[in-house]
């Protein structure tokens, strides 16, 4: 694992993987959208609104697993001080926030016709709203200090403390009364969902996961480039610094 966490090696590997991952993402999105909007039959209870599920549920899965990634990488950054771990967490957070926003808005647009309300302050909806604010808080806190290292550490601690919210989201539909339906795919006794509806859901989930992966790699590469730009500028401004830290940077890494 530590071998892949080397920034130079990361740039080389991610650069090689990125074109293939992008092609796979576009293909999965195209197939998923045709399945979701055309091929899937309307639900016997929910009619055509079930098509909202094909974006709502994958967005929710990504929103939660991205937070798991932010928290896990933050823990690694706090414990081992590895630069790539913090870059991974910082790069994943805005994407997680975006998918959480998609989850919230599409859920509201689904709730309006099916529940008769855009919003209820129940455990599931409220805990996902808190997830959204945790992402925003993490992003803001990381930039709130003059010393970026202190900001990074404070944000990492917030990310770790906020992880308690993830199991609360997952089990909120079992622990409290809610309008929200319980889990129907990830169940101990197998998915309680028709294959004609399950297939588009899984393809869209794959597409969203690939998309998240592509954007995460792009953002991590950007962060590493920007770090090198700062080091080169510092070296140019103070000539003696050129014989210090920046010599570890290989010039042809971009």
């Amino acid at each position: 694992m530590h071998r892949f966490a080397n920034p130079t090696r990361f740039m080389r590997l991610s650069g090689a993987v990125l074109p293939w991952l992008t092609a796979a993402t576009i293909a999965a999105l195209a197939i998923g959208l045709v399945m979701a909007l055309v091929l899937a039959p309307p639900d016997y209870q929910q009619g055509e609104t079930v098509r909202i599920m094909f974006i709502h549920v994958p967005a929710a899965w990504i929103a939660m697993s991205a937070y798991g990634l932010v928290a896990g990488a933050s823990a690694a950054a706090l414990i081992w001080r590895h630069p790539l771990a913090e870059i991974a967490a910082r790069s994943a957070a805005p994407l997680g926030a975006g998918f959480t926003l998609v989850c919230l808005v599409t859920g509201s647009l689904w709730g309006a016709p099916m529940w008769g309300t855009w919003w209820v302050w129940d455990a599931r909806l409220t805990s996902v709203l808190i997830l959204f604010f945790l992402y925003l808080g993490y992003m803001a806190l990381g930039q709130a200090f003059d010393d970026p290292e202190r900001g990074g550490r404070a944000a990492s601690i917030l990310a770790l403390a906020g992880f308690i919210n993830v199991p609360i989201i997952k089990y909120s539909v079992d622990w409290w009364n809610t309008l929200h339906q319980p889990a129907s795919v990830m169940r101990m006794d197998g998915p309680a969902i028709d294959p004609a509806i399950l297939a588009p859901l899984l393809v869209m989930a794959l597409a969203f996961t690939l998309l998240f992966g592509v954007l995460l790699l792009v953002r991590m590469r950007t962060a590493l480039n920007e770090r090198k730009i700062r080091a080169l500028r510092l070296a140019a401004a103070t000539p003696e610094a050129a014989y210090g830290r920046p010599t570890s940077l290989t010039p042809r890494e971009a």
Binding site: T49, L215, L232
Partner: protein
């Protein structure tokens, strides 16, 4: 064909909700993708410029 298309677009009377949901998802995802790719391209260009300058300085 035309009737099929308009039937599909109607989404069983839920067109507003279904199409709004897909529009919002498209806008948010596109915004994230464009912002990420734009910043990536800028970083690559700046880094290439700085490295070209650095190599020029070594030659001199």
């Amino acid at each position: 064909m035309g009737a099929d298309l308009s039937h599909w677009l109607e989404m069983g009377g839920y067109a507003v909700y279904v199409w709004s949901a897909y529009a919002v998802a498209t806008i948010v995802i596109l915004a994230m993708a464009l912002a990420s790719i734009g910043r990536y391209r800028t970083s690559r260009r700046l880094l290439a410029e700085l490295q070209a300058e650095g190599e020029g300085a070594h030659d001199a």
